[in-house]
């Protein structure tokens, strides 16, 4: 298919982000051309002040390197301005007489700094603060001159002022209002900021309106409306920006304050869109990066023709570092007749927090000095959280108490947004850290986009990194998908199976929208298990979704032969069984006979097609040495012979094994019974380990002697064998119902907690129900070897190899 021609006018943050979103959806569908007026690749304009302050270079703030454009076959023309759009012929023309056709045209022309039309504004030494060129002008001036005046006490002006201080200049900031940053801060926060900045060396002239910039060729000073004057060698105008709409206006595209767009970022001309600071949506022009990125995403979907959401506008929040001071504001933060507010003011620490409420909802907030709660508050504003049941004060007290040094990020739920600029949630960040083994903020940035823009959330990302990589972190907090075929977790899948009454593996994958139609080797056996666990009486096990060992009821070996381990309850045998085993070993020429660690005998090296015959000759139950099921119950000699034995461990072992054999479990289950604390049956490292003591039994759970070496936890002590069996039954059923497939009890216990297990098992009613459910499951089990021996059809299907007969020459 022919690629569509896509032209982007404006090589800035919003436009290029939109291109990134387009490439994500359709990496190959467009032939892309980008024009940028400035001679640089896309850089982070928000970080311009750091360039001015001299601690970073242009390279450091570049978002998309030239290689990125090359990699994606994007034709980039820098230092070139589009001057005309021919809508009829669908072409654009540049100031270098270039002519390019488009199928889709995106205008992302951004803003221009607003220059006050003052007498003398054209003198040498008067500059804006908007691009890299302006930074260079200021840096050069600082080398020759001493006295700078910044007009504008908003964020941009203060950043310029801080930069000029760093460059060694004396700085006056002239502001028309009484309060600095009045659009982001309330008067209290504003005054605190002023105090802080004055301490840093800035001088403020508030409530001042400039009348004239005077001087001969170069600026020499400012005259104000009130008649006062100040000297100046450099004047930086930072009074605001206005959308750059000239190109659109000249070419008959509807323009108001910005280029007018609908909810899909379309202008009134076909195939022409606008995004970013130049666009006006529902009469609002946004200037912060988060809404612009949101717009970019929606536009990308539109351009790619995928069903897209509407852009419905954004709640604006600001999270800034002004000269080293953290500031946050969002929503309606000014007190009003219909609002109430809570304020915390700490003059010692320089912290101020205000939350404004309207109708039991958070309407807005201002934070100064400690902005940890910012994301939480923003989420409350966006979600319109009803706080009528919350203690209002507690909303701010979570972290401000001196004792708790925990980062606010840790208290947030996974769906809360950490990086407001890029809309990245806590869950996404933690997930990326775990899945991709990330260890630095930069890696998180590259992987998730979090902190890629204003960088204000870096401390939160850092906190999440430390937390996620640290010991306290519980990985289960992150939703873990069943496998790569779906984003649903085990819990979600089970919930869906129950609510939609799904009965087949294929049905689950189909109804729940599996990415791989037929699943994979991870999810298929898991789903097969979950269905069997949920419907013990009527689920028919699906052979083709079982791992070979579980399907053939034998353990596959490296050479494709199998091993056979018959039951030997409690590790106790007799001459009849031993004789049968010996006969079978001889008859089938078994290459190795070995004692297992679970106190039984393993016949190794048996051919697949011989398995049913071997089982028939043995005429013993399957030992399930291959299965996700109860393997063995290891026992010590016990009171029948041992001089130390306090309990009859062999008999209890036999009883347990007979009770729970054949039961499918999430992973293998090993048990043991020792008759005294000498613990000869190693009950401390079993999934369920019983230790006989004088007058009773200790029950240990979650022990593991394998890859996850772990001593079992003492679940409880009981008096009678009957109680051992009952507790074990409830424990196993709870494990069956709540563990992830292939999760051993050792991991499961660490995930859900011993206390949780105790609470469930020691509640009599719960326990009764768990036991009832396991009894139902047990009632439907059959010995698989016996079944297969009797069933020629299964033997044919699973065990017999094909025979070749005649060959035909072609």
């Amino acid at each position: 298919m022919k690629k569509k021609k896509l032209v982007l006018v404006g090589n800035g943050m919003a436009g290029v982000r939109c291109i990134e979103e387009i490439l994500k959806i359709d990496s190959d569908g467009f032939e892309i051309t980008i024009f940028g007026r400035e001679p640089y690749p896309n850089y982070n304009r928000i970080l311009l002040s750091t360039v001015l302050q001299g601690d970073t270079s242009i390279d450091d703030i570049t978002i998309n390197e030239l290689e990125w454009y090359e990699q994606h076959n994007i034709q980039l023309y820098t230092g070139e301005t589009v001057v005309e759009i021919d809508k009829e012929r669908k072409q654009v023309y540049t100031d270098k007489d270039r002519q390019i056709e488009y199928d889709e045209l995106i205008l992302a022309t951004g803003s221009l700094p607003f220059m006050l039309p003052l007498p003398g504004a054209d003198k040498e030494g008067v500059t804006a603060f908007r691009d890299i060129q302006d930074c260079q002008t200021m840096i050069e001036s600082a080398q020759q001159y001493r006295k700078a005046v910044v007009i504008g006490g908003g964020l941009l002006g203060l950043e310029a002022a801080r930069g000029l201080l760093n460059l060694g200049m004396e700085v006056d900031v002239v502001h028309i209002c009484e309060h600095l940053m009045e659009r982001q801060l309330d008067p209290t926060a504003s005054k605190m900021l002023q105090k802080e900045l004055e301490a840093q060396g800035m001088n403020f002239l508030l409530n001042k309106q400039t009348e004239e910039i005077f001087g001969s060729r170069r600026v020499e000073g400012l005259l104000f409306k009130d008649g006062s004057k100040i000297e100046a060698d450099l004047v930086v105008m930072a009074v605001g920006i206005r959308p750059n709409v000239q190109l659109a206006k000249n070419n008959g595209i509807q323009v108001n304050r910005g280029i007018v767009v609908n909810d899909y970022m379309q202008t009134d001309c076909p195939n022409i869109y606008a995004v970013g600071e130049c666009a006006e949506h529902r009469e609002i022009v946004y200037g912060l990066v988060a809404p612009l990125y949101e717009q970019g995403k929606i536009l990308a979907e539109k351009v790619c023709g995928v069903e897209s959401k509407k852009y419905e506008g954004s709640v604006v929040s600001t999270q800034l570092k002004v000269s080293g001071v953290d500031v946050f504001s969002a929503g309606d933060f000014l007190d009003n007749h219909d609002t109430n507010s809570i304020k915390v003011y700490d003059d010692f620490e320089g912290i101020y927090k205000k939350v404004v409420f309207r109708d039991d909802k958070v309407a807005g907030a201002v934070l100064f000095g400690d902005i940890g709660e910012g994301p939480k508050l923003l989420n409350m504003i966006n979600d319109r959280t009803d706080i009528s049941n919350l203690s209002k004060v507690a909303i701010l007290q979570d972290h401000s108490g001196g004792e708790s040094s925990k980062s606010a990020a840790l208290e947030m739920v996974n769906s809360e947004v950490i990086c407001g600029c890029n809309g990245v949630t806590k869950g996404e960040i933690c997930g990326a850290i775990v899945e991709n083994g990330l260890t630095t903020v930069d890696q998180v940035k590259d992987n998730t986009n979090a902190s890629r823009s204003c960088g204000g959330c870096k401390p939160l990302v850092q906190d999440l990194l430390e937390y996620t990589l640290g010991d306290e972190f519980d990985q289960s907090e992150i939703k873990e998908a069943v496998c790569g075929c779906t984003t649903l977790s085990r819990e979600e899948v089970i919930e869906e199976i129950k609510s939609k009454n799904l009965k087949f593996v294929k049905e689950i994958m189909n109804v729940l929208g599996w990415k791989n139609e037929e699943g994979c080797s991870k999810c298929r056996p898991a789903l097969n298990y979950y269905l069997g666990m949920l419907y013990p009486s009527d689920y028919e096990d699906e052979q083709e979704s079982r791992f070979v060992n579980d399907r053939l009821h034998a353990n596959i070996q490296k050479d494709g032969t199998y091993s056979v381990v018959p039951r030997m309850y409690g590790g106790v045998t007799n001459v009849t069984d031993l004789r049968k085993i010996a006969d079978v070993a001889e008859k089938y020429d078994v290459p190795m006979i070995k004692l297992t660690g679970g106190q039984r005998i393993d016949l190794l090296g048996i051919k697949k097609e011989d398995l049913p015959k071997v089982w028939a000759d043995l005429d013993m139950p399957s030992g399930y040495a291959y299965g996700k099921a109860l393997r063995t119950v290891k026992t010590c000699v016990g009171s029948q012979f041992c001089r130390f034995g306090t309990q009859d461990s062999t008999q209890l072992g036999i009883d347990l094994e007979k009770k729970f054999e054949r039961l499918n479990t999430p992973h293998k289950v090993k048990m043991s019974v020792s008759a005294c604390p000498r613990n000869c049956a190693e009950s401390g490292i079993k999934d369920v380990g019983i230790v006989g003591v004088d007058g009773g039994f200790e029950i240990y759970v979650g022990g593991n002697g394998g890859t996850h070496l772990r001593a079992g936890d003492l679940l409880c002590t009981v008096k009678k064998e009957k109680e051992v069996i009952e507790t074990t039954a409830a424990f196993l059923q709870y494990y069956r119902e709540t563990a992830t497939y292939l999760e051993r009890t050792s991991k499961w216990i660490e995930r859900i907690g011993l206390e949780n297990i105790r609470e469930v098992l020691f509640d009599e009613e719960n326990k009764k129900q768990l036991v009832a459910r396991i009894e139902e499951a047990l009632a439907h089990t059959k010995d698989p070897w016996e079944e297969i021996v009797k069933n020629q059809e299964i033997q044919e299907k699973l065990f017999r190899n094909l025979e070749t007969q005649t060959s035909v020459r072609a």
């Binding site: 791989n516 139609e517 037929e518 699943g519 994979c520 080797s521 298929r524 056996p525 052979q543 083709e544 979704s545 079982r546 791992f547 070979v548 060992n549 399907r551 053939l552 596959i556 490296k558 494709g560 697949k608 299907k797 699973l798 190899n801 094909l802 025979e803 070749t804 007969q805 005649t806 060959s807 035909v808 020459r809 072609a810």
Partner: protein, 101 residues
């Protein structure tokens, strides 16, 4: 080319493999959910695992030894693993399955 009769279509279970010895080859035969039948060498390029006993998903089979994912059509190991097994042409005539050598 030689065509060797190995089975009837109906005798091959769906989404389960079958192995057959033909000349010096151990061949794994797969009838996919689409009904298409593929034949490949019954030995994983990794450590020679018996592919015929793997779990089948679409046209891929997961080796039961170490879970390598092999394409039953092209014989290629799927990323991140690398390698391939020999593939054999399958012909079906009158419900009879032939492997071509």
């Amino acid at each position: 080319m030689e065509r060797i009769y190995v089975a009837n279509v109906n005798n091959l279970p769906e989404k389960l493999g079958k192995s057959v010895k033909v000349r010096n080859y151990d061949i794994a035969l797969f009838k996919l959910s689409t009904g298409v039948i593929h034949a490949i060498e019954n030995s994983c390029p990794h450590k020679g695992g018996v592919l015929s006993q793997g779990i089948i998903s679409g046209k891929h089979v997961y080796c039961p030894m170490h879970n390598w994912k092999i394409c039953t059509e092209e014989g290629k190991a799927q990323k991140p693993d690398e390698g391939c097994v020999k593939t054999f042409e399958v012909e079906i005539k009158d419900e009879k399955v032939y492997v071509c050598l």
